[in-house]
């Protein structure tokens, strides 16, 4: 690490600040993205107003719809939170996808294996299994970053594919549902299924509680302070006697545990088993959601609900207006582009002009 390099810093403001003005940017970004997508829908020959109406009516128009939306939002809150924790430490964890998958598979395994336990023991065990494996996968990247200087963006992306291959192998061999030819695990035992309280899924409340916990840790505890300091200025942190290596690894472990928990909640609350087609894209959505929420542990919740709502309403939208559900992927990309583009960011006064990037080898 040479002294002349630009210090790795996160683009975010202190966790405590919560000024209303800066929240206009995400809202405008969402509206502009929807407008651009509307033009594309129109060009495809469908009616954008019908499409959006159907999308949001399905997602937020009834209690069932809201329950579905919150269910879809749960893993998104957690993957957004995972990415946000990484960014706070100056790490860009784009491997939430792989960490989430390993968590989903681990929870499916725990949900099938531990027989004869009451729900209030079985569910926590399965959740912890998911968080544990997610944290191991992220820990590999954290370790390589801290001790070998390998950039976390590359290792996390590569681990996404590696985890997917391993999960695919396990789901088609050791963990496959007996006497079935499909690549998937058995359904988890009833004691591991997470309850739904009149359409409102338990997982969502766990996710919100975790977001509050992370908010408290980052803003009020010593370990949170270490993470924030390393994220702001690595050299200053080192000079102040903080172990940068340990902080980088622990931030990745926490980030991975949250993402793994996201996968576990999805398995125990929605899919009830692991199959390769499940959970896709949830980790990548986390990147958009984290940036949309201005890397604030609580700011990600509205963003996750919005995207979750779109995912929940997408199938009905296709039925009503003929627009492909992949519209949501396009919207996510546009939102990400707009929310991070400094052109509009600077329009609303922004002081951050610093870079996270400082080469591959530091």
């Amino acid at each position: 690490m040479s002294d002349t390099k630009v210090v790795t810093e996160s683009k975010s403001k202190p966790v405590k600040s919560f000024d209303v003005g800066s929240w206009l940017i995400p809202i405008i970004a969402v509206l502009v993205a929807m407008f651009i997508a509307a033009i594309l829908i129109k060009l495809q020959g469908s009616n954008p107003i019908t499409a959006y109406k159907s999308l949001f009516k399905t997602a937020f128009g009834s209690l069932e719809g809201i329950g579905l939306t919150l269910g879809k939002s749960t893993p998104l809150v957690l993957s957004g939170l995972a990415v946000a924790v990484g960014l706070r430490a100056g790490l860009f964890n784009i491997g939430a996808q792989g960490q989430l998958l390993s968590g989903a598979l681990a929870a499916a395994w725990a949900g099938v294996t531990f027989d004869g336990l009451p729900g209030y023991i079985h569910i926590p065990i399965a959740l912890i299994a998911g968080a544990f494996f997610g944290s191991i996968v992220a820990g590999i990247s954290g370790f390589l970053k801290a001790y070998r200087g390998v950039h976390e963006v590359i290792t996390t992306i590569m681990l996404n594919s590696i985890v997917m291959a391993i999960a695919d192998y396990l789901a088609s061999h050791q963990l496959r549902e007996p006497d079935q030819f499909l690549t998937r695990t058995s359904e988890i035992l009833p004691s591991a299924k997470m309850p739904i309280y009149s359409h409102l899924p338990l997982g969502f409340f766990i996710a919100v509680a975790l977001a509050l916990l992370i908010w408290w840790i980052l803003g009020r505890t010593t370990s949170g302070f270490r993470i924030e300091t390393v994220g702001r200025n690595r050299h200053a942190a080192w000079y102040a006697g903080i172990s940068v290596k340990k902080t980088v690894i622990s931030a990745m472990l926490i980030s991975g545990a949250i993402a793994g928990l996201g996968g576990a909640v999805e398995t125990l609350g929605i899919t009830y088993r692991y199959a390769p087609a499940f959970n896709l894209g949830l980790g990548f959505d986390g990147i958009t959601i984290a940036l949309l929420g201005r890397v604030h542990p609580l700011g990600i919740i509205p963003g996750a609900i919005l995207i979750g709502g779109m995912r929940a309403g997408a199938a009905n939208m296709q039925f009503d207006s003929g627009v492909a559900p992949e519209l949501v992927d396009l919207l996510m990309a546009l939102i990400l582009l707009l929310v991070t583009a400094p052109l509009i960011t600077r329009f609303f006064k922004n002081n951050s002009n610093k870079s996270m990037t400082s080469g591959w080898g530091n």
């Binding site: 070998r148 992306i157 919207l331 990309a333 400082s358």
Partner: protein, 327 residues
């Protein structure tokens, strides 16, 4: 030049290993090497994108997205017009636009370059999955050409001189880039901008302009890699078609020390390793589950980076936005 350098050692080992396999079974060895070259080309081209950008100080992790979107455009424009040449040009235009977008974000807006590249990747994924239509076909793929005379040489003929036109074009791009970087004024200016932009600025080089030009051309090269995949090697397009090649290419760039020939060598090593793994499966010498051979390039990428990290030095100004007048 030292005769007993480490690099010559690698060449000697590679040469002896090839000779050994060739004497055991000539036909299979030749076909493995030919397949390996075909696998290596898109990786090598994608690594060129990285080299061109990083030599001028721009980190481009959007290579994957550039390749994906251009492969998509190449295939669907070819399908729409029933003409693969038009598809190829549309792809190159798309790649240049992606490069221009990155330059806009990284140079003019001074955005974090890692986030800018990620935006390209997510944008490409979003656009290709939204606009993707099933069941489209293209009239033909770029057919292999046998270079007269040269293709008759045993071993080297089939490995190097029987390929589609995009392969030859790609190899030409790589060699040209090597010469251009080390032996032309443009190359010297680019390297200066990547190492110490304020000095280059003082010497009268427009940092921003050179970065714009290089990143845009790099986008076009990335498009060539994408078009090669959909119009020559595979002849189709699926969602998530490029399967992480753009990221592997970054590792190859680092392994090749930001040198076009070094990256080409690293890509050939990768391509051959995959071709060998495939051959071992076909011969049923070993029974590796398909998931593990699929994961092999990713594992190798991490291993390569772990080994070479700390031993190589990236361009000094990489990843930093430049402001006129800064020290």
């Amino acid at each position: 030049m030292k005769l007993l350098s480490k690099r010559n050692g690698y060449f000697l080992i590679a040469f002896l290993a090839t000779l050994f396999f060739y004497t055991r079974d000539g036909d299979i060895t030749t076909s493995v090497y030919a397949t390996g070259t075909a696998f290596a080309l898109p990786l090598a081209l994608a690594a060129m994108v990285g080299i061109m950008c990083e030599r001028t100080g721009i980190v481009n992790i959007g290579i994957e997205g550039t390749m994906l979107l251009s492969a998509f455009v190449a295939f669907f424009v070819s399908s729409l017009t029933q003409n693969i040449m038009i598809g190829l040009f549309a792809a190159i235009l798309t790649g240049s636009i992606m490069g221009l977008l990155l330059a806009l974000m990284a140079v003019s807006w001074r955005m974090d370059q890692i986030i800018a590249g990620t935006i390209l990747n997510i944008l490409a994924t979003g656009l290709t999955s939204f606009l993707y239509v099933q069941g489209k076909t293209i009239p033909n793929v770029f057919q292999a050409i046998e270079v007269p005379g040269l293709s008759k040489i045993p071993f080297f003929g089939p490995v190097l001189f029987i390929h589609g036109p995009l392969t030859f074009l790609g190899l030409a791009v790589i060699l040209t880039l090597y010469v251009a970087i080390y032996h032309t004024p443009w190359g010297l200016r680019s390297r200066a901008v990547g190492e110490h932009p304020s000095s280059a600025d003082t010497a009268g080089v427009s940092v921003a302009r050179l970065r714009y030009i290089n990143v845009t051309i790099a986008g076009a090269i990335g498009a060539l890699a994408g078009a090669y995949l959909s119009l020559e090697l595979v002849g189709s397009f699926e969602r998530g078609f490029t399967a992480g090649k753009g990221f592997t290419a970054l590792a190859l760039m680092i392994f090749g020390r930001w040198n076009p020939l070094g990256a080409l060598g690293a890509a050939l090593f990768f391509g051959l390793a995959q071709a060998y793994a495939n051959q071992l499966m076909i011969d049923q010498v070993v029974n590796i589950p398909s998931q593990f051979t699929a994961a092999l390039p990713y594992i190798m990428t991490i291993v390569v980076l772990t080994i070479s990290a700390g031993k190589v030095r990236p361009p000094a100004a990489e990843g930093q936005p430049y402001e006129k007048g800064q020290a």
